[in-house]
Amino acid sequence: MYDFAYHKPSSVSDAVAALQGAEDGTVIAGGMTLIPTMKQRLAQPSDLIDLSGIGDLKGISVSGGTVTIGAMTTHAAVANSPDVQKAIPALAHLAGHIGDAQVRNRGTIGGSIANNDPTACYPSACLALGATIKTDSREIPAEEFFDGMFSTALEEGEMVVAVSFPVPEKAAYIKFPNPASRYALVGVFVAKTADGVRVAVTGAGEGGVYRASELEGPLSSNFSADAIKDVKLSADGLNSDIHASSAYRAHLVGVMARRAVEAANA
């Protein structure tokens, strides 16, 4: 790892100033992705801005049918939050099955979505629930936030501050974990909301997380696993790698989606 200047601001505005003042600055949240990336010298920032000293970025609040989670809230805090467990149990379940206990104690929701790993879990929850991503300067609907693998709508120097999730009628997330990394080989988040059913798939698509409209249609008229048992999903645009072929991933999307619908109805 190359050396860098380390900063620990105590407010969002100081962090943004530090970021904009740096030659090639990067923010660090839990470091679960960034530190390994820097060790491999795939990232070599001149300045590292640690967000852990900013109290405003931590915490969970529920009001008026919306769950809002601060960017620096850890996966463990989301998983163990009685508020999240009550309002959106699927989200607590998702957070509680990311990686392992030690990753969950450090990794954050802000880091996960800013990174937009094509196999990460949270992006599917954001897309299926119709979340809004709040940054230091604006609000971005999840639909516009995730744009391709490891790519988001965040501008240079822009920071995620919080994520707001509308509470669905029902939801569930089921993943087929890669047995080594626990990332999603395929993960499917289904949500039944006032505006219909939304199904988001992570781990499978070449362009990262996406909505499976072939499944949303039938589920909107009949929210049961049976409604999608005969849907043939195309392998076009799905990843093929040493872990799974695109055809196998297409098959898994159907299986995970049916299990998720069953779990949501349980």
Binding site: M1, Y2, D3, F4, A5, Y6, K8, I28, G31, M32, I35, P36, M38, K39, L48, D50, S52, A76, G99, D100, A101, Q102, V103, N105, R106, A180, S181, R182
Partner: protein, 155 residues
């Protein structure tokens, strides 16, 4: 060079580090606490697990600077003089180790589990150990040791 200060195993310590100095390097090289191991250095194996403000974390994937002001406990901080911590005693008693390389991380991870979920089922114990890899024991006796410590830690 930043100076970091933290409490390690109940003792206040401080030292000069580079921004890039990892917490595990600070523990092993500055403080000479070599009980915390580095197995993979890529946040997979859990040999480097320590407690940070009461939570288990992988010290190979954290900067020393990020631990500034924190309370850190390493494997060296568990025993009370010559008396092993109940979790260490349980690993000894139940042959929860062979080569011992993974053991410091296993023990630190297990102590965190039993504190947070004293009645964890066997399945929950196995799931909790997801981030701790052992190449010798096959995990069976590790799980038994933790189950034993569930009774002795609450006693």
């Amino acid at each position: 060079m930043p100076t970091v200060s933290m409490t390690v195993n109940g003792k206040k310590v401080s030292g000069e580090v580079e921004g890039r100095t990892l917490l595990v390097q600070f523990l092993r090289e500055n403080l000479r606490l070599t009980g915390t191991h580095v197995g993979c250095d890529t946040s997979q194996c859990g040999a480097c697990v320590v407690h940070l403000n009461g939570d288990s974390v992988k010290s190979c994937t954290m900067l020393a600077a990020q631990a500034d002001g924190a309370e850190v406990t390493t494997i060296e901080g568990l025993a009370d003089g010559e008396t092993l911590h109940p979790m260490q005693e349980a690993f000894r008693e139940h042959h929860g180790l062979q080569c011992g390389f993974c053991t410091p991380g296993m023990v630190m991870s297990a102590v965190d589990l039993v504190k947070k979920n004293p009645k964890a089922s066997e399945a929950e114990i196995r799931e909790w150990l997801e981030g701790n890899i052992c190449r010798c024991t096959g995990y069976h006796n590790i799980v038994k040791a933790i189950q034993h410590a569930q009774t002795t830690m609450s006693a």
